[in-house]
């Protein structure tokens, strides 16, 4: 039962079915819709757990849909990187739980079943994105998650939200098209759509220019999805204006799919073995470094707490991309684990901020002064998140910073180690403002002292996540050692 291979398809099919049935089940009954989607996600989590147990025991495995042999059918492939389904399921569950109260207050009732449906579809898209082994299938799932993402940004019905969603949609759609174009190019030169097969056949391609163009196209498009610095302009508005649980999902997971796409592109090209990726690596490292600094720089000027968090996502994506671009063992490990850890941390922060906004109705740092006294647990969780995202030990953010910095030195590019560590200080500047305003400053609105703690359905996810931020800092070696074989396999070096 545990090693049943069908869990791999179940992990996509369960949330998919749940999502399309949410409007049926939940019509005019928002509570039922909420419970239904929670149940769906719980089942999905079971499947995800089984998959991770299996990959830990046996290593990567495949599932051939329709029983067609490798290049002819669609292959689902579960490797160590795909273990991201764990964090997708976890954040999904917690965001859905958080939504129970939050959405009732901020979204029109008739839209609520569709809200849950879209959220489930978004999660389905991400799960499919990380487990598929087929390039075109990857595109299809990317579209599911992008489309639902655009709609979720706009779902609150505010004017600014709709404009942010439109901006997001245009940039997202263009980048999706570029991905499709690159898939077409790769298909033209290899005749295959299966990633492993493409990787094998790429080694024998003689005319390199289309292949390099495909690589550049994919890199560019995924950078847009990942909101790397000059291509980030869609992110702050979209993430800040979306409902908070959605922000948590978007910031914690959806932007990571861009990084994940880069990772898959790397897998294809490293697998081919005879492609020189130095140019791309250099570009990624520099863009990563610039993102770290620019994200932090813009965040300093933000008054709106969610806007600040949104810019900090850009910085953190910078970490991850820099780690990938360093192309050294430690850098790569740090980057992949930071995908996971940053999701935890950012979800803590966004959900915590959501709880504050829900209870107080304020969203700027000035207005929120003194809230630490009335909502101590939420603010404690937010502070843990802040410490963690800056990378103060022993929280989850630290190990990744340590690994990526180590990777920079390992790759012989110490400059980026410095950039990373000092960039993190820059980030601290604005998080300390947040902590100051919660705890140490006199309230601007005295009535803020009398609001109570957030309801349990909001508090519980926030606290669970904050605890995980700490636990993952202390037990950080577990994901690290879990991902290590995959990275080594990808880089093709052992012990180097």
């Amino acid at each position: 039962m545990v090693l049943w291979p069908h869990w791999l398809v179940a992990v996509i099919i369960i949330p998919l079915t749940g999502a399309v049935l949410t409007p049926v089940v939940g019509r005019d009954r928002p509570k039922v819709a909420s419970l239904w989607s929670l149940g769906t996600m719980a089942l999905t989590s079971v499947a995800a757990t089984m998959l991770i147990i299996r990959v830990a025991q046996e290593g990567p495995f495949s599932y051939m849909l329709g029983d067609w042999a490798r290049p002819y059918g669609i292959e689902l492939r579960f490797d160590e990187f795909s273990a991201s389904v764990a964090i997708i399921c976890l954040l999904g569950l917690l965001a859905l739980m958080f939504s129970y109260r939050y959405v009732a207050a901020s979204i029109h009732e008739s839209r609520i079943p569709y809200y849950y449906s879209l959220l489930l579809l978004n999660l389905t898209g991400m799960i499919g994105f990380v487990v598929t082994g087929d390039l075109f299938n990857l595109f299809v799932f990317m579209e599911i998650l992008s489309l639902s993402g655009y709609a979720l940004v706009a779902i609150s019905g505010e004017r600014t939200a709709e404009m942010a969603a439109f901006k997001y949609l245009v940039m997202g759609a263009v980048s999706s098209l570029v991905v499709l174009f690159s898939v077409g190019l790769l298909y033209a030169v290899t005749g295959s759509l299966n990633m492993a097969d493409i990787s094998e056949r790429l080694a024998g391609v003689t005319d390199r220019l289309p292949v390099m163009l495909a690589l550049a196209g994919m890199a560019m498009a995924f950078m847009v999805k990942a909101a790397l610095f000059p291509l980030h302009i869609w992110l702050p508005d979209a993430h800040a204006i979306a409902p908070s649980p959605v922000s948590a999902i978007l910031s914690g997971l959806v932007v990571k799919t861009g990084v994940f796409g880069l990772l898959r592109a790397y897998q294809i090209f490293y697998g081919a073995g005879n492609y020189d990726l130095t140019g791309l690596n250099t570009a990624l490292v520099w863009l990563g470094a610039i993102s770290i600094v620019m994200g932090a720089f813009f965040a300093i000027f933000q008054e709106d707490i969610k806007m600040m968090l949104a810019y900090s996502t850009i910085s953190n994506i910078g970490y991850i991309v820099m780690g990938l671009g360093l192309a050294s063992q430690y850098g790569m490990i740090g980057a992949t684990v930071h995908i996971f850890n940053h999701a935890l941390i950012k979800a803590t922060l966004f959900l915590g901020a959501g709880a504050l906004i829900h209870k107080t109705g304020y969203r700027t740092l000035t207005d929120l002064r003194g809230v630490g006294k009335s909502m101590p647990l939420t603010c404690m969780a937010l502070s843990i998140g802040a410490i963690s995202i800056v990378g103060i030990p022993p929280t989850a953010g630290f190990l990744c910073k340590w690994y990526i910095a180590l990777g920079a030195f390992q790759a012989g590019q110490p400059f980026f180690g410095f950039a990373l560590v000092f960039g993190a200080l820059f980030i601290f500047v604005y998080y300390i403002r947040m902590v100051n305003s919660f705890y140490f400053q006199q309230p601007t609105h005295p009535e803020i002292l009398s609001v109570g703690e957030a309801p349990l359905s909001m508090l519980a996810p926030v606290l669970v996540l904050a605890t995980l931020c700490l636990v993952m800092g202390i037990l950080g070696r577990l994901p690290l050692s879990f991902i290590e074989p995959a990275v080594l396999r990808m880089l093709g070096t052992f012990g180097g």
Binding site: I13, G66, L118, L147
Partner: protein
């Protein structure tokens, strides 16, 4: 100024792109890797193995059936997205009783006259997708267009009655649900999700499943297209 800058930038971008496509295998060549690898296999064995004479249908529903499973989910996502963005709750909706400018009698007459034929054609396209050009998507679009045309001449309330209110959410989810159903049938019967029986004696099962998929896609597509149209019109 901005326009000139953008143009210049795009022309610069064009150069590497054109260089790259120039290096692609020559257009129309039967010796290209794209033609010789996977598709050669499909063309050779597809008709017997996958169950439909139309190889494109084989690819869509059988070899790459999971893509289509995702694809129908994309359509459903579009529906949910439009609903999520546009719905404002029943009380604030004012369904349009009559079009603001009722179409002329000629239009009304012709639409009413053609409606059964259009529907017939749509069903034909859906059911013959596996042996001729066409299939669920194409037929579903025709059906959806029919629903839109009828809305224009009958008014929304009248047209909505074509699809009963209670069944509508089920029908909207029809395509993904059919896929999941067939997929699970394949799981129990063949042992793999979306597996189709390949045994000689069970070819009729295979054909039936393909047809069910086509019908599911067609029905779901049509309902979703008309639902999106109605939602948008309600917002006009």
């Amino acid at each position: 100024m901005k326009k000139a800058l953008v143009s210049a930038l795009l022309i610069l971008t064009a150069i590497p792109l054109l260089l790259a496509v120039g290096q692609l295998p020559p257009h129309g060549s039967a010796k290209s890797p794209a033609y010789e690898h996977v598709s050669a296999y499909y063309l050779e064995y597809g008709a017997e193995e996958a169950g439909a004479e139309n190889i494109v249908t084989d690819v869509i529903l059988n070899y790459r059936g999971f893509d289509t499973n995702g694809e129908v989910t994309v359509i459903f996502t579009a529906l949910a997205a439009v609903m999520g963005v546009l719905l404002l709750g029943r009380e604030s909706r004012h369904p349009v009783e009559q079009p603001t400018y009722p179409p002329s009698i000629v239009v009304r007459f012709i639409v009413r006259l053609l409606a059964p034929f259009i529907a017939m054609f749509a069903i034909y396209v859906i059911l013959n997708g596996h042996v001729s050009p066409g299939g669920g998507f194409q037929g579903g679009t025709i059906l959806g267009a029919l629903a839109i045309a009828l809305t224009l001449v009958l008014g929304e309330n009248e047209a909505r009655r074509l699809i009963p209110e209670g069944a509508r959410p089920w029908l909207q989810a029809a395509a993904p649900l059919t896929f999941v159903g067939i997929g699970l049938a394949g799981l129990t019967d063949v042992g793999v999700y979306l597996g189709f029986p390949t045994v000689e004696t069970l070819t009729w099962v295979r054909t039936m499943w393909l047809l069910m998929l086509e019908i599911g896609i067609g029905l779901g597509g049509a309902v979703i297209i008309s639902s999106i149209f109605w939602t948008m019109e309600g917002e006009r």
